[in-house]
Amino acid sequence: MSSLAGRGRGKIRPPRRGLASADVDFETTWAVLERAFREIHTKNASALSFEELYRNAYKIVLKKKGDELYAKVAKFEEQWLGENVRLQITRLLTPPLMVLDASGRSLESTAEKRISGEVFLKALKEAWDDHQVCMGMLTDVLMYMDRVYCTDHRQPSIFAKSMGLFRDQILRTPVKTDLPTLLDILKRIILDQIQMDRDGEAINPHLIKANIYMLEGLYESEQEVEDEKLYLQSFEQDFLGTSAAFYREEGERLMKESDAGTYCRHAKRRIDEEHDRCRSTLSESTTPKIQRVVEDELIRHKMKGLIEMDSGVQYMVDNDKLQELSLVFDLEARVDPKKSELTRAMQKIITEMGTNINNAAIAASTAPPPAAALAEKEGEKSKPASSAAKINQQTVAALKWVEDVLALKDRFDGIWKKAFEEDQTLQVALNRSMADVINAFNRGSEYISLYIDENMKKGIRNKTQAEIDQTLEKAILLLRYLQDKDIFETYYKKHLCKRLLLNKSQSIDVEKQMISRMKIELGNSFTLKLEAMFKDMTLSEELTNGYRNYINSLGQADPKRVDLSINVLTSMTWPLEAFRGGQTSDQANESGKTQVVFPPQVERVKMGFERYYNEKHSGRCLTWLSNMGDADIKATFPNGGKDGKPRTHEVNCSTYAMLILLLFNDLPAGASISLEEIQARTNIPPNDLARNLQSLAVAPKTRFLVKEPMSRDVKPGDRFTFNDNFKSQFVKIKVGVVSAGNKVEGDRERKETEKKNNDSRGFAVEAAIVRIMKQRKELAHTSLLNETISQLSAQFKPDVAMIKKKVESLIEREYLERIDDAPVPSYRYLA
């Protein structure tokens, strides 16, 4: 073992004295280094031996004299910068620069200022470059000191230290006492040059960039904290400040001088310019900040004014200035992701335009004010022309409204697509405004239904499938905005009913398409009843065929037999009151169940069908709606043909007209019947009677009867005679009854619809409340309100007062009770 230890002793030899611990004469060594440093600074380094310098520095550090060396080097640099470099630069502070400094504004021409500024910038750049190169070399030589001394002693590297010296000696030292420092001058020059650049003068961006690099490479302290770059600390703030002032002023001037479009283009250009400037002249890191300044000054603070300018958004929309709108959008999007100003402006415009459309529609529909009250009495002969005109006017107003709204929508969709980059938030806002416009118009539901009705009856004739699809889509589009969908349903049902029963629809296919579209859009429950109507129609057809076959199978080939086709309608599904409208309301006291008297040959057929139907479905009660029917009859007029020969015409008329005409069959020629007599013998409601008589006795083309006296109005006491001398060139004659045209409701009618609607809403609300409470058992008042509203929102927007009322009524009926000791008002469900 001792041999081992002995070997160890002999083996490790102490390090060479030359390296480790020889005495180094600090002063002489330093003298060598200092001389070399001076050479380096005067750019004579190529003859120096790196190895020798390194070795000298290395030895000093190894001898633990790193601190002295460090201090000496720093001192040397300080002197060098202070004595040589600073002088060279301050010499260049020529009058143009200094005069500016003294007075604070430019007395010299900009060109002069620019040139002397550039000279200064160039000198500073060169000084900085030299300093960096030299310090790079010094750092190389002093590598060992940096690694060992500086790391161990927590000193900044000599490079960082000397950069700090440059900052203090060159930039931070006043040129003379009482004069600003070079840093301030530099700052002013750069800002000046940038201002020149903004004013359109050519400057040298590379020089500025080089100086900016310098500021970026220097720090407030030797710690070199990233946030404390001289650039950030001393320059950027000022730059942003002056820029803000400049743009504020420029923005205000432009607002006064130019229109919105020009302003937008200018702002855009400025933003791009600043972006370029940051890249070419300043630092990229400033880009977002200056961007923000420009945006603040040129856009954010001015946007409201800009939008509201005479040549603002309103003007652009009115004149379809899509490009400028797009600019506005672009600018707004920069400063506000929600684009609230633009949104507000656009909403305002839509609302305004929408209100105009609404008002126009109201104005159009109520143009001759007294006519409105009479509108629903369109059957009166007294004013058939004005009444018909009235109907047309109303319908036209409705169609126009729908078309206008659609056009409005199309227009703003176009703007949205082309100018607003299909922005999501704007789309939502625009849609909301559209909805507001549509819902603000209280006849919206009716008009939309009417629009569909009109198209179903006439519009889609001669149209291709694609066009039809488009029309339907448009209708659905509007429907989507509609809040009170239940009202729409009511109207639609009514209109659909008429179309179906009176065979007015152009194509059942299209009708069904429409229904299925609605189904997709509004849900199954919405179309349930509409579909049931179609089903009834199909069933009725089968029923009619069945009955006809049944009659044939009886084998009674009675030529005189009346052929019957029939529609059996489920009373709950069909809005039949629409047809009884005038009747029931006029003669409410008559209990509505006036059964007309059919002549025996018709009565027999009716009885036959009832028998047949009851055989098939027992327990069902058929109510005959004779006012809805029509009849084909053959009528022979003695002098109708040429040369006074009799001629037979096929006449299509309403059931009521048939009944009236049949009365004259039994009369001798030339005999007359009074109005009262007809009324008594047929039991036709007076309204309908008058209307039908008007068609038969007044309308020139179908004047089968002659009225005594010859006046337009049918009055009690009038007498009617068969018109033997009726002539017509057509074989088939259709007797029009003034009732079929769909039209806008009158005020009273509307009130009724509303009342009915309110009732049905009431039920819906109650049902919803009960559904919710049954599930929850106990619920606070507000949550109940919210849930009810959300449940019903698919159908309509329930009125809060109504909900409250319904809750009260449910409490009265003991479906619910109040919870007495609950902290918030709450209800409990009583099973």
């Binding site: 073992m1 030359g18 190894l62």
Partner: protein
């Protein structure tokens, strides 16, 4: 019962998984064995029955750092296995020798996951500390020890600053800036060509062979992995491939073509890559020995200026390195020399007085390789004289200035070591010059060499820890070794913490002989001064370290005997006393222990007494150790008092 039923299927599933896993492993192992027998795969852990390897394994079992390092230096395969399939790494981790495991890993012992031996090693690790260490050296993450060298040479191809290339090869559509010494070292073809015409500066290559082929081959010569860069078309690729085939025959580097033709799986590829790099390194080394080391020459100190080497020398050197021949190096084993020159008085460099004629040694060298030292890299890129490379390969003026001579402040032997490392990654050198190498590496910023020197010192310099404790008699009898002070100071100078630790440990285990030494006091004072300058802590680092190792030294004894608790008690009382700072109190503390009345003043003598008692009264041994411990601690406190230092 139900729970049991539930468990059983999952248990069988687990079993099944294990069995499949086991099958897979067995299959993989069998496959591997086949591959090895067939020569497709190299055995990473070949069987080694040599005596050296036996010693190595023994050292691994016992944790003998020094013995292990000696075997490694002798060239034992660190990854070999013994007849029981144990590798030194497995043994060391199994026996829980953390430091030894670390040392083995540092020197290239492999512990690769997903191999049989690697998993075995991890599985066998004694504790988590070692396991984590093994995992942190996971082969797939750690780099091949030769990778830095290979990477450097490869990077020469693309490195443009500083300019180091000295020959340009032109193909039909491209040119390559290359280094003659690399070409010559790596390819017999180039070697012959260049030997004939060392001054060649540019060379036209056969125009028929595609540039891509040249690139592949040249990259291979520069230690890059041979692969063909993707070409636009298949034909182009084929042409390149054929070109590579031709070239690899012509340049006599058949491996390129073989590798490209038959890449093999990941493991094979890696092994071949390792072989390639190793082979390349050997080529470099051979060339380096012939053309650099053997070309070194001596001149008189005052005649160095007359040395004029042309650029077109046969070694292709572009720089000459100059080392002082220090007279004392020549008879380093002579103890009298060092006593003649006390540590503080020998000056350096040219001003050094020499009894003999002052001579210097010059080494031809290549900047391209010197760049591996950060100092040289900086030097050659700097605008100083050294950075001005006289001629680019294209200028063929014959009047180019002679090669620059750059002095390196170390002995020729050390410079040779440094150069060897830079050229070959090979860092084996005799212990005596280790400190010099350490300093040179520090000065030249060759971090890895520095670490190797430190490793060498701290392993070989140490008597194994165990052995000292086993024979306290001998260690106490030894005189203090001055060199340990140099080691500690060098550790400080060169910022190698490992050496300071090593020194503290070394001293702690022999504290009896150091504690009263004057120079030890000096060392403690220096350590304290260092701390003052840095103001990090209030302790004297070396004293803390010594205390720590001291406790380790004695604790080992107690724990071995299962009497750790007793030790703890003693230690507790000891530390209380330490706080009390008085030796007198220590006295009282030990008065309580029966049968212990050593004379503290004459502790050396007392130890002697105790030692004689040792043999006779075995029961007292531990108590006596504890006493020794306290005595030594007391000594240190006294020393600190004397130096008026707080600790």
């Amino acid at each position: 019962m139900s729970s049991h039923e539930e468990e059983s299927p999952s248990a069988t599933a687990a079993e099944k998984r294990t069995t499949t896993l086991k099958h897979n492993i067995e299959k993989a192992l069998a496959q591997e064995k086949q591959d090895i027998q067939a020569g497709r795969l190299k055995d990473e852990n070949p069987l080694d029955k040599s005596h050296d390897f036996y010693l190595m394994c023994d050292a691994a079992r016992r944790g003998d750092l020094r013995l292990a390092q000696e075997q490694i230096t002798k060239g034992v395969n660190i990854n070999a296995r013994d007849e029981y399939d144990y590798t030194p790494l497995i043994l060391a981790s199994l026996c829980g020798h953390f430091e030894l495991v670390q040392m083995l890993l540092e020197q290239g012992a492999k512990c690769e996951r997903d191999t049989f031996q690697g998993e075995r090693c991890l599985y066998n690790a004694l504790n988590d500390r070692i396991r984590n260490l093994l995992l942190s050296y996971d082969y797939s993450k750690s780099t091949d020890p030769l990778q830095p060298l290979a990477g450097h040479i490869t990077s020469l191809l693309t490195r443009d600053s500083p300019q180091t290339a000295d020959i340009t090869l032109h193909t039909s559509d491209a040119s390559f800036q290359l280094h003659k010494f690399v070409l010559s070292a790596r390819s017999p073809y180039f070697r012959n060509k260049l030997r004939e015409k060392p001054e060649t500066k540019s060379w036209k290559l056969a125009p028929k062979i595609p540039t891509g082929s040249f690139e592949t081959c040249l990259r291979y010569l520069y230690f890059d992995e041979p692969e063909i860069s993707p070409q636009e078309s298949e034909e182009a690729e084929k042409a390149v491939l054929e070109g590579v085939g031709t070239l690899s025959r012509q340049l006599e580097v058949p491996q390129v073509f073989e590798t490209i033709l038959n890449p093999g799986d990941r493991r094979q590829a890696r092994q071949r890559r390792q072989d390639d790099v190793e082979k390349g390194r050997d080529q470099m080394e051979t060339w380096f020995r012939e053309n650099v080391l053997q070309k070194q020459f001596e001149v008189d100190a005052d005649k160095t200026n007359e040395v004029h080497w042309k650029r077109d020398n046969s070694s292709f050197a572009d720089v000459l390195l100059l080392a002082d021949i220090n007279p004392e190096d020549e008879d380093a084993d002579d103890d009298t020399t060092s006593s003649d020159h006390p540590t503080t008085t020998i000056p350096i460099g040219p001003s050094a007085p020499s009894h003999r004629r002052h001579r210097k040694t010059l080494f031809p060298a290549h900047r391209a390789m010197l760049l591996r030292s950060e100092l040289f890299a900086t030097m050659f890129t700097s605008p100083f004289r050294e950075g001005q490379i006289s001629s680019s390969p294209d200028t063929s003026d014959s009047t180019s200035p002679p090669l620059q001579i750059i002095p390196v402040d170390c002995s020729p032997a050390v410079l040779a070591v440094v150069l060897t490392f830079l050229y070959t990654e090979n860092a084996s050198f005799p212990l005596p010059i280790a400190l010099d190498v350490l300093h040179a590496a520090d000065m030249l910023f060759v971090e890895k060499l520095k670490q190797r020197a430190a490793l060498l010192i701290s392993t070989l310099g140490n008597g194994a820890a165990g052995s000292i404790v086993e024979s306290p008699a001998q260690s106490a009898a030894d005189q203090p070794h001055d060199w340990i002070y140099d080691v500690v100071r060098s550790g400080w100078d060169c910022r190698v913490h490992r050496l300071e630790e090593f020194g503290a440990r070394y001293i702690a285990y022999r504290l009896e002989s150091y504690v009263d030494d004057e120079e030890f006091k000096e060392l403690v004072r220096e350590s304290a001064a260092r701390i003052k300058a840095r103001q990090e802590t209030d302790t004297v680092e070396i004293v803390d370290d010594i205390r720590y190792y001291l406790s380790e030294r004695f604790r080992l004894r107690f724990e071995d005997s299962g009497l750790g608790e007793m030790m703890d008690e003693e230690e507790g009382s000891g530390s209380e006393k330490e706080e009390g700072e008085g030796e007198g109190e220590d006295d009282e503390g030990y008065a309580g222990s029966p049968g212990l009345a050593p004379d503290l003043e004459a502790h050396a003598g007392a130890e002697g007494v105790i030692r004689t008692l040792d043999g006779e009264v075995a029961g007292d041994e531990f108590a006596q150790d504890a006493l020794n411990y306290q005595i030594l601690l007391g000594k240190i406190d006294g020393l600190l008092d004397e130096l008026t230092l707080d600790a």
